[in-house]
């Protein structure tokens, strides 16, 4: 890209005046090596994804024969097969299920996490310190310690094979990562901004809704993207709670393909895997700056 062009432009024209002009300056050579090393690493890192994309166009018979990046006989058969679905459920249904769960979970996460973060960052009430420490504690807690009691609880509530166990916790700010992210962001906002509103007589609800929420928009966007992607990818919770195939989200549906792979249909498995990744890859392409910035701030201010 732009780097390529720069390699050819002399960085240090003064050197060109010398008696024996070197063909390339040391800096240019370094940059070229830098670029080459990174290009090679990128190729290796992204290879599995490129391989996945290409493989969706391979005929079933090519698997195990042709592992290269060019299909012998490009075909859309895999897509046709995958759209038909599996276990009597069409593909769009899995897609829709995943979308419903991820959208609801994301909405719940944003709402509950921003409220909790506002309380932690801006309201001085008794016990705020203890609860904040508890929240940080849950950040590091291996959640496997709660899955069995939660399963028993949701079982007793008759919520097995519904989406409640997947969505309800998100409305209760159980993912401390997002609370923490928003607290950090709110702490970076000058107190004068919302204290002015408070002096003018706005209560906490008004201040939160009309001052704070607009100000933390970048944190909300980052949280929304992460929440969506994590819910979309989540495998353990639907594996535990969802039992009927027509309610399966994509990861569990993929398992149906995966378990059958041993017998035959490699092409369909790979294609379904790719289709499940499309929304995430699109999100990534559109929002990559937000994501990378979100990860970076979370690390540095922590």
């Amino acid at each position: 890209m732009s780097t390529l062009r720069e390699i050819r432009t002399p960085a240090d024209p003064a050197r060109g005046e010398q008696a024996r002009p070197p063909r390339f300056t040391r800096k240019q050579i370094n940059t070229a090596i830098w670029f080459a090393v990174l290009m090679a690493s990128t190729a290796i890192v992204l290879y599995p994804l490129v391989w996945l994309l290409v493989s969706t166009f391979k005929d079933n018979s090519e698997f195990g024969q042709n592992q290269g990046l060019i299909p012998n006989d490009p075909t859309f058969d895999n897509y046709a097969k995958v759209f038909e679905g599996i276990a009597g459920v069409p593909m769009w249904r899995f897609f829709a299920n995943s979308t419903v769960i991820a959208v609801a979970a994301t909405f719940g996460t944003l709402l509950s996490s921003s409220m909790a973060a506002y309380a932690f960052a801006r309201i001085r009430f008794r016990g705020v310190g203890i609860f904040f420490a508890a929240m940080i504690g849950t950040l590091l807690l291996p959640f496997h310690v709660v899955i069995i009691p939660q399963y028993i609880m949701f079982n007793n509530l008759g919520m097995i094979d519904t989406y409640w166990p997947l969505i309800l916790p998100k409305f209760l700010a159980t993912e401390a990562f997002f609370v923490f992210l928003m607290v950090q962001f709110m702490r970076g906002i000058p107190r004068e901004m919302d204290e002015a509103a408070r002096v003018d007589g706005a209560g906490h609800v008004r201040t939160f809704a009309s001052i704070m929420l607009p100000l933390i928009q970048p944190a909300l966007v980052t949280s929304a993207i992460f929440s969506f992607i994590w819910t979309w990818n989540d495998f353990l919770a639907p594996l535990m709670y969802i039992t009927s195939p027509d309610k399966y989200p994509l990861p569990i549906a993929l398992r149906l393909y995966n378990d059958q792979t041993s017998t035959s249909d490699y092409g369909a498995t790979v294609t379904a895997s790719f289709i499940a990744l499309i929304p995430i890859l699109l999100f990534f392409l559109v929002f990559q700056r937000f994501l990378v910035a979100g990860v970076a701030t979370q690390g540095l201010k922590g």
């Binding site: 496997h144 906490h204 994509l250 990378v292 990860v295």
Partner: protein, 327 residues
């Protein structure tokens, strides 16, 4: 559920409002009512989190601690058996094996992943122009790495006659598929973890950007070589970020589940080599219906992670240098 939460917050708010605005009361009274109002608002806003914290975390933790001392299969009531579950664990060869492979996975995988992350971050920090593209490319695997799709791809890539086998055969290494190979399946899982080095890399990169350039310039003048500069400037200045990444990655690595589950079709095989701690825990709880035993396993995990975090925090005082004031 959705709507009750914000409404609860509003209710507390409107309760508090009239008291605060009553200006007739003496100053002391106003002060007290303001505290009262802040408490109400605080707990109002925190209500969803509080319900989640007590209802989905704290009480379940206590309940799972109780279950860990019982024999329980969800159909009949828990039966108190004392420390039996914990005692059985150490005699259970499958458990011991799962601890072993999880430990190898953490102890080998995390350092390699962090080394890759730091190495690439330093490479990216060399130059700003063009680095954004590479940064995003390297970050992508972190985002999708835990997905079922990637587990399926990984399995295909490392299967017999898969791309990896093909490439290695080309160089004369006829080792066949990694997936069914007892010796190679764990390295394959570690490679999958290392492949997701992008998230810690981004954090390292942000840390590197904050290291003052003057330090390197001063070192250059003193004639320090690249290794010396790395050891005396980069690492100490980055130690807080190293600590953060180390803590996060260790805790994350202990909890590896979906990729191992998918790659082994839920079996943890071959020969238990992908039967990671949480995979075995899940199988015990939900396949074998031994929830008491699984709860005991979960508590051992919590204790181990807590001890590790504690040790890390304690020893961090010796090697983590916080800048007095970073901004």
């Amino acid at each position: 559920m959705t709507s009750t939460v914000p409404r609860a917050a509003e209710a507390t708010e409107s309760l508090g409002e009239p008291q605060g605005s009553s200006k007739r009361s003496p100053r002391n009274e106003t002060q007290r009512s303001r505290h009262w109002r802040e408490n109400l608002a605080g707990y109002g806003f925190l209500t969803p989190w509080l319900i989640g914290f007590f209802g989905l975390t704290l009480i379940p933790m206590a309940y799972s601690l109780y279950l860990s001392f019982t024999s329980y299969n969800i159909f009949s009531p828990p039966e108190w058996i004392g420390f039996d579950n914990y005692a059985r664990m150490f005699e259970d060869p499958v458990y011991v094996n799962s601890v072993k492979i999880t430990a190898i996975y953490v102890l080998v995988g995390v350092p390699i992943k962090l080394a890759a992350a730091l190495g690439v971050a330093m490479l990216l920090n060399y130059r700003d122009r063009g680095a954004g593209f590479f940064r995003s490319s390297f970050y992508a695997p972190s985002l999708i790495g835990a997905s079922v799709s990637v587990a399926i791809v990984w399995r295909a890539m490392f299967s017999t006659d898969g791309p990896v086998d093909d490439t290695l055969s080309f160089f004369g290494l006829e080792i066949g598929g990694w997936v069914g190979n007892v010796a190679l399946v764990l390295p394959m899982m570690i490679l999958l973890a290392v492949w997701q080095f992008g998230a810690p890399m981004v954090i390292f990169l942000a840390g590197l950007k904050q290291v003052p350039r003057e330090l390197y310039e001063a070192a250059d003048m003193d004639g320090a070589g690249p290794i010396r500069k790395f050891k005396s400037i980069t690492l100490p200045m980055l130690s807080a970020v190293v600590f953060f990444n180390l803590l996060l990655e260790i805790i994350g690595a202990f909890q590896v589940f979906s990729s191992a589950y998918i790659i082994s079709n839920g079996s943890g095989g071959p020969a238990g080599m992908t039967n990671f701690y949480t995979v075995y825990l899940y199988k015990r709880a939900f396949t074998d219906g031994q929830m008491g035993y699984a709860a005991a396993m979960a508590w051992v995990l919590v204790i181990v992670v807590a001890i590790l975090a504690f040790v890390l925090f304690r020893t961090s005082k010796m090697w983590v240098h916080y800048q007095g004031d970073s901004k």
